[in-house]
C-alpha cells in the first residue's frame, strides 16, 4: 500500500468511526480510543507523574468526549478537540488537589533560593551533550514541582504557545514565560545530576 493512499484511508476511517460511534457502535468507540489513547494518556502522565491518576484522567477525558460525540460536526480536527478536553480535565484535577497549576511569580527573582539565578553554572558537573535519553528526561520531568511540570509539558512537549497557556491556565504571558524558563533550568540541573551520578561523581 503506498503512503498517500494509506493516509487517505486513515482519514476516511476516523470520520467513519465517528459516525458509527454516534450510532452506538462499540468497535467504533474502541477504534477512536486506540487511535488517540497514547497521546491522551502520555499527556496525563506527564502532568501528574502518577500512573493511577493518569489512567483515571485519561478515562475521564475519553468519557467526556464520547458523551459529547453526538455534537461533533467536524469543524475542527477530532484530535484537537480531544486534546483540549484532556488538558482541561487534567488542570481541573490539579486545581482540585490544591496543587499549584502554575506559580504566580512573575519574575525570576523570587524569594525561593532555588529560583535565584546561579552565578556558577556547575562547571564541575557533567555537561549534557549529544542526546538525552527519553527515560531520563521522563524521570526528570516527573521530578519537577507540579507548577513547573505543567508549564513545561504544555509548552515544550505539547506545543502550546504562551498566549494559549495563559488562556488555559489563567496566568499572564509573562508568568508563563518565566515559569517555563525556571522549569527548563530545573530540568537541566536534574539531568546533569543524573549524569554525574552515572559517571560516579560523588554527590556534593
Amino acid at each position: 500500500m503506498t503512503e498517500p493512499r494509506q493516509r487517505q484511508s486513515t482519514e476516511f476511517n476516523e470520520a467513519e468511526a465517528i459516525e458509527r460511534a454516534k450510532q452506538g457502535d462499540a468497535e467504533a468507540f474502541q477504534a477512536l480510543y486506540d487511535r488517540h489513547k497514547r497521546r491522551v494518556y502520555s499527556l496525563c502522565l506527564r502532568m501528574t507523574a502518577n500512573t493511577a491518576e493518569a489512567e483515571d484522567l485519561a478515562q475521564e477525558a475519553f468519557l467526556q468526549l464520547f458523551r459529547k460525540i453526538g455534537t461533533f460536526r467536524g469543524e475542527s480536527a477530532f484530535s484537537t478537540w480531544l486534546h483540549r478536553l484532556s488538558v482541561n480535565v487534567v488542570l481541573m484535577h490539579l486545581r482540585k488537589k490544591s496543587l499549584p497549576v502554575v506559580s504566580l511569580e512573575e519574575t525570576t527573582q523570587g524569594g525561593n533560593e532555588e529560583d535565584t539565578p546561579k552565578k556558577d553554572f556547575g562547571a564541575d558537573d557533567v555537561a549534557l551533550a549529544g542526546s538525552i535519553d527519553r527515560l531520563q528526561l521522563q524521570r526528570a520531568v516527573d521530578s519537577l514541582p507540579p507548577g513547573y511540570r505543567t508549564i513545561f509539558v504544555l509548552h515544550d512537549v505539547e506545543g502550546y504557545e504562551h498566549n494559549e497557556i495563559a488562556g488555559i491556565v489563567g496566568c499572564s504571558i509573562g508568568n508563563s514565560k518565566s515559569q517555563l524558563h525556571k522549569a527548563r533550568m530545573k530540568l537541566r540541573d536534574l539531568l546533569r545530576m543524573n549524569r554525574a551520578g552515572k559517571a560516579g561523581i560523588p554527590k556534593q
Binding site: 507523574a49 502518577n50 500512573t51 493511577a52 491518576e53 516527573d142 560516579g200
Partner: protein, 283 residues
C-alpha cells in the same frame, strides 16, 4: 597457634565481616490519599503491607556496602531504587525491603530475583520480576498486574478489580480471585484456578503448552468455553448446552456450556496442554 584455633579465628572473622557489611536503614514519608510508591530492586525481596496512617515506611536490609538505596519523594509519590555500585553482584547487591504503605496507595515493584509480595491493599498493584516469585493476597477494588518470566505466581483473595498476569513459564495459582477482568497469559506455565469465576466478569486463562486446572463450586454462574488444540479436555461439571458460535473451529478438543445464569464469561485455552474443569464440594 593450633590449627583448630586458627579455623575458629577465621570463621569468627568471616562472621564479623558479614555482620559489619550488612546494614539496616529506615525511611518515613508522609503522603496524601492515593499515593504512588515504587520500589526498584535488582536483587532481593520486596514485601508490601498496609500502614496504619498516611505514612510510607521503607525498611531496607542492605547486604553489603556495594549497594545503596536512593529514595525520593515528589509530592504524593515515593520512589525507591537500589543503586548497585561497581563490583556488585546478585549476593553483594542484594537488598531486602519491607515496605508499609497506606492501603489505598498504588504500588509498583520491580526485582529480578524477588520474591515479591503484597497484601491487604486496595490500591493498584504492579509487580514485575524476571525470576521472581510473586505472591499477592487480600487485595480488593484495585488492579493487579503481574509480569514474570519464570514466576511462580500466587494470587489469593483478590476481588472487585482487574487481574492481569503474564508469566512466561512460571505456574500461576489463583484462589478466590474474582473481578471484572481476570486474564492470565502463559507460554508454558500451568494455570490453576480455585474459585467461582464470580462478579459477572470476563475470565481468560491462556497457556500455550501448560495445563489449565479449574475447580469451581456447583453454584458457579458462568458461560464456559474450553479448548485445547492438541491436548485433552475434561469436564467434571454438568454444563448446560448453549448454541455454538464458533462452528468454523475444527481442530482439537473442546467443551462449552453454561452453569447457573451464566453471569461470567470463562475462556480456557491451551494449545498442547490439558484442561480440567472440576467440581468443588460445597461447604
Amino acid at each position: 597457634m593450633s590449627t583448630r584455633t586458627v579455623k575458629l579465628v577465621v570463621v569468627g572473622a568471616i562472621v564479623a565481616g558479614t555482620l559489619v557489611a550488612e546494614s539496616h536503614k529506615e525511611w518515613h514519608f508522609n503522603v496524601g490519599p492515593k499515593a504512588g510508591v515504587s520500589v526498584n530492586n535488582p536483587y532481593g525481596s520486596i514485601s508490601v503491607k498496609p500502614s496504619n496512617n498516611n505514612t510510607v515506611i521503607i525498611n531496607a536490609v542492605l547486604h553489603s556496602d556495594k549497594v545503596e538505596v536512593d529514595n525520593r519523594q515528589n509530592g504524593n509519590r515515593v520512589d525507591v531504587q537500589s543503586h548497585l555500585l561497581p563490583g556488585a553482584d546478585a549476593t553483594s547487591g542484594r537488598v531486602d525491603y519491607e515496605v508499609f504503605v497506606p492501603a489505598d496507595a498504588s504500588v509498583t515493584l520491580h526485582s529480578t530475583t524477588g520474591p515479591l509480595r503484597a497484601e491487604k491493599l486496595h490500591g493498584d498493584v504492579s509487580l514485575e520480576g524476571s525470576a521472581a516469585t510473586v505472591d499477592v493476597r487480600d487485595v480488593a477494588d484495585a488492579h493487579v498486574h503481574v509480569k514474570t518470566l519464570t514466576g511462580p505466581v500466587t494470587l489469593s483473595n483478590i476481588h472487585d478489580g482487574h487481574v492481569e498476569v503474564d508469566s512466561l513459564s512460571g505456574m500461576v495459582t489463583m484462589t478466590a480471585v474474582t473481578g471484572q477482568l481476570v486474564q492470565v497469559i502463559s507460554t508454558s506455565g500451568n494455570i490453576v484456578y480455585i474459585g467461582d469465576f464470580g462478579s459477572g466478569g470476563e475470565y481468560r486463562l491462556t497457556t500455550h503448552s501448560g495445563d489449565i486446572d479449574a475447580t469451581v463450586p456447583e453454584s458457579t454462574s458462568a458461560d464456559v468455553s474450553a479448548r485445547s488444540v492438541r491436548g485433552e479436555v475434561h469436564d467434571d461439571v454438568p454444563l448446560q448446552p448453549r448454541s455454538r458460535t464458533w462452528n468454523s473451529f475444527k481442530q482439537g478438543s473442546a467443551f462449552v456450556g453454561t452453569m447457573g445464569k451464566a453471569a461470567s464469561s470463562v475462556v480456557l485455552r491451551t494449545f498442547s496442554g490439558k484442561i480440567h474443569l472440576k467440581k468443588r464440594a460445597e461447604k
